[in-house]
């Protein structure tokens, strides 16, 4: 499958190791899809307010808010999700009665596996099922937690033998396991540990959760400085004599300054090469059938709406129409 259909899905989970750019990429995917006419919800699963901050908007709550035409933002809140669920499904009447339940719930949810997760995934699937949006982009849990989250419906099926939750998991699984509607987008940087986690997750994802991999995004990729032939020229410049000649060719600056500039470029080249090696490992391990989508390193300040737009633009180019 090509990535071009990425935005045609209904539910996209964006995951990756902590700090690789999940929020940035999720926000950019949302912006891109909205600019192409889709009604989009971007949901932040760990409510830190980072998605709203990425759009430079005041924080959103559990109730989605439109931040620009067709683009909506919400923060997950499992307690609110439980309340909504109870109201919609069990007709448990008043908020008042749920108060102590919520307190106890909080406690059990901390310890009992899958409770929080099912409420998160359930809410997301619900938005898809009700057709409130064309696309729901999830700024999801990091690689270490995403399997637990996505596998919750399956896991609950095993742990909970009866009860309303069990019967609820079936329609969720139908949405989650259909590759045309749901996919996971793994973000990585060209570094060792993020790539390791991406490879590990890609290998476990389908087997353990039934959810399919939709795309791999390599974020913060440094530009390739030189082609092969140019690298030779660059290497020749580092020669003392050449550096001295360069200094006199420019004039006005000491040879040491030239050396500094050349060394800095050499560091950039070597860091890039180390990163390229990691991306190559990723390609060999998973991306053979799954194209890698590249997002360049933003050297200028990379926070806020301007950065998100830049990332959206490069994603747009990579994904095509």
């Amino acid at each position: 499958m090509t990535v071009s259909g990425l935005l045609d899905r209904r539910l996209l989970f964006v995951t990756g190791k902590g700090g690789v750019g999940k929020t940035t990429v999720a926000a950019a995917l949302g912006m891109l899809a909205a600019s192409r006419g889709r009604r989009v919800l971007v949901c932040e699963v760990e409510p830190k307010g980072d998605v709203a901050a990425a759009y430079e908007c005041p924080p959103a709550g559990f109730v989605p808010r439109e931040v620009s035409p067709r683009l909506h933002v919400m923060e997950m809140d499992t307690e609110a999700s439980l309340r909504e669920y109870l109201r919609l499904n069990l007709r448990v009447p008043t908020i008042g009665r749920i108060g102590p339940v919520a307190r106890a719930f909080d406690f059990v949810a901390n310890a009992a596996p899958g409770v929080r997760e099912i409420l998160t995934v359930g809410k997301l699937c619900y938005e898809v099922r009700e057709d409130h949006y064309d696309l729901v982009v999830v700024d999801a849990a990091a690689t270490g937690h995403i399997v637990g989250q996505l596998a919750a419906p399956v896991g609950i099926n095993e742990l909970v033998k009866v009860g309303a939750v069990r019967s609820q998991t079936r329609w969720m699984l139908e949405i989650l396991e259909d590759p045309r509607s749901t996919g996971v987008c793994i973000v990585t940087t060209p570094e060792e540990m993020p790539v390791n986690e991406a490879i590990d997750l890609a290998g476990r994802l389908e087997g353990e959760t039934g959810v399919h991999l939709a795309a791999l995004v390599a974020n913060r990729v440094m530009p390739e400085l030189f082609s092969r032939g140019e690298e030779e020229i660059f290497a020749a410049l580092a020669d003392v004599q050449a550096t001295a000649a360069l200094a006199s060719a420019v004039g006005g600056a000491p040879a040491s300054a030239f050396q500094e500039v050349l060394e800095a470029a050499a560091l950039a080249v070597r860091i890039r090469r180390t990163g390229a090696g990691h991306l190559e490992r990723l390609r060999v391990a998973v991306a053979a059938a799954q194209p890698l989508v590249y997002v360049p390193y933003l050297f200028a300040r990379a926070d806020g709406a301007r950065a998100v737009r830049q990332v959206a633009d490069s994603l747009g180019e990579e994904l095509g129409e």
């Binding site: 596996p113 009860g163 993020p194 560091l267 070597r270």
Partner: protein
């Protein structure tokens, strides 16, 4: 511990500090180099002092784990052979031991220690909630790392234990983990849930929580949850006392913290908050290591000017350069050389933007806290003893601000 020789340079205060401590806790945001730095100072201390040093790693990269010989060995410590140091070109005065944290094994050991009898332990192990919980319990990973540290320290087999901490969503989580663990098992809510009937759900069934929960989750699942809490209740005293001792170890005079960060917006913010939290809790911040720092040359005005002129007139400079070199430059044409020069200038300028942001963040951070060392951004990953010793040298020789 055999004290360091009088010949040891007194201008290495960090090395002196570590010689006087028994526990170093490496902490900080994810991906900044905690595991690497923890292994680095442990390796370096085993070279410089006649001490038996243990590094307890949590999540080493595969190649680093291989280098330390901890791949897949679970909780048992292993000696990193002196020959490995010799191969890296150094002689050790002490020993380096390495261990990896096995969360599941540690939980089981904890239960075995605190369960009133073997049959209770067996029932806990068989409980489906326990089986899930050991991986996912709130802060379980953080707590278990501290718990292992306590255990190892109590055994007293090492002069210095350097412990790595798990990647958490929030670096503060693990500071609070022991307290939260004690609170969790000692909480009024837990008592309220399980106390009225020591083993049955009968009286609980009348509570509104169970009425709703039962409809959602089903009785059997709730039974498992209740049983799990009841069984844990039997370990309450031992467990809470233990969690308190673990918490106390963090504040002891023998313990110090090493905070590691990089100079990126989010990590450095988190590190600053963490340093403040340590101070607030009166915990000792012995080392503040700023990792992956770009070279100062990016800020050198002469170099900046050079980069600008390379971008300004690459073709002219290429011509003058080739004219001055009778043998040419790798047989390249003027246009080719010009492109390389321009690219060098552009790369300097763009990476220079990152470097100047780093410099701002470093200035900010060192305004608030003493940065004890800056470690350069190496061109390759740190995957062997040679790399670790290089990092260790930067950290311990205190090239800070």
């Amino acid at each position: 511990m055999t004290r360091r020789q009088a010949s040891s340079p007194l201008d290495r205060p960090l090395e002196r500090l570590l010689s006087s401590r028994e526990v170093v806790i490496a902490c900080g945001p994810g991906g900044v180099g905690k595991t690497t730095t923890a292994a680095a100072i442990a390796a370096t201390m085993s070279v410089r002092s006649a001490a038996k040093v243990l590094v307890l790693t949590v999540d080493p990269a595969r190649r680093l784990a291989d280098a330390l010989g901890v791949e897949g060995i679970g909780n048992t410590a292993t000696l990193v052979p002196a020959a490995a140091f010799a191969a890296a070109g150094v002689r050790q005065k002490g020993q380096l031991w390495a261990a990896m944290l096995d969360t599941k094994e540690s939980w089981d050991a904890l239960v075995r220690r605190h369960a009133p009898d073997a049959s209770t332990a067996a029932r806990i192990f068989a409980n489906p909630i326990y089986q899930n919980v050991t991986g996912r319990f709130a802060q379980s990973h953080e707590y278990i790392a501290m718990e292992r540290l306590y255990e190892i320290h109590a055994e007293g087999a090492y002069d210095l234990v350097v412990v790595d901490t798990p990647p958490t969503r929030d670096a503060l989580d693990f500071l609070d983990a022991p307290g939260r663990m004690a609170d969790f098992f000692g909480s009024g809510l837990l008592r309220w849930l399980v106390a009225p009937s020591r083993s049955r759900l009968v009286s609980l069934a009348s509570r509104p929580f169970y009425q709703v929960a039962d409809r959602i989750l089903g009785t059997q699942f709730l039974g498992d949850v209740a049983e799990f809490f009841l069984l844990f209740q039997s370990m309450y005293d031992g467990f809470v006392t233990r969690a308190r001792s673990v918490g106390a170890l963090l504040g002891e005079a023998r313990t110090t913290f090493m905070l590691v960060t990089t100079l990126e917006t989010v990590p450095s913010l988190e590190a600053t908050r963490f340093a403040a939290a340590l101070a607030e809790r009166q915990l000792h911040l012995g080392l503040l290591v700023v990792n992956k720092v770009l070279p100062a040359s990016f800020a050198d005005p002469a170099a900046v000017a050079v980069a600008e002129s390379l971008q300004g007139d690459p073709v002219g400079i290429a011509g003058a350069l080739l004219a001055a070199l009778p043998d040419g430059l790798a047989g390249a044409s003027r246009v080719q050389v010009a492109r390389v020069l321009e690219e060098v200038g552009r790369s300097f300028a763009s990476v220079g933007l990152v470097a100047s942001r780093q410099a701002e963040l470093l200035a900010e951070m060192s305004g608030a806290h003493e940065v004890t060392a800056t470690v350069p951004h190496l061109a390759a990953d740190v995957v062997d003893l040679r790399g670790l010793l290089e990092i260790g040298r930067h950290v311990l020789d205190g090239t800070g601000t």
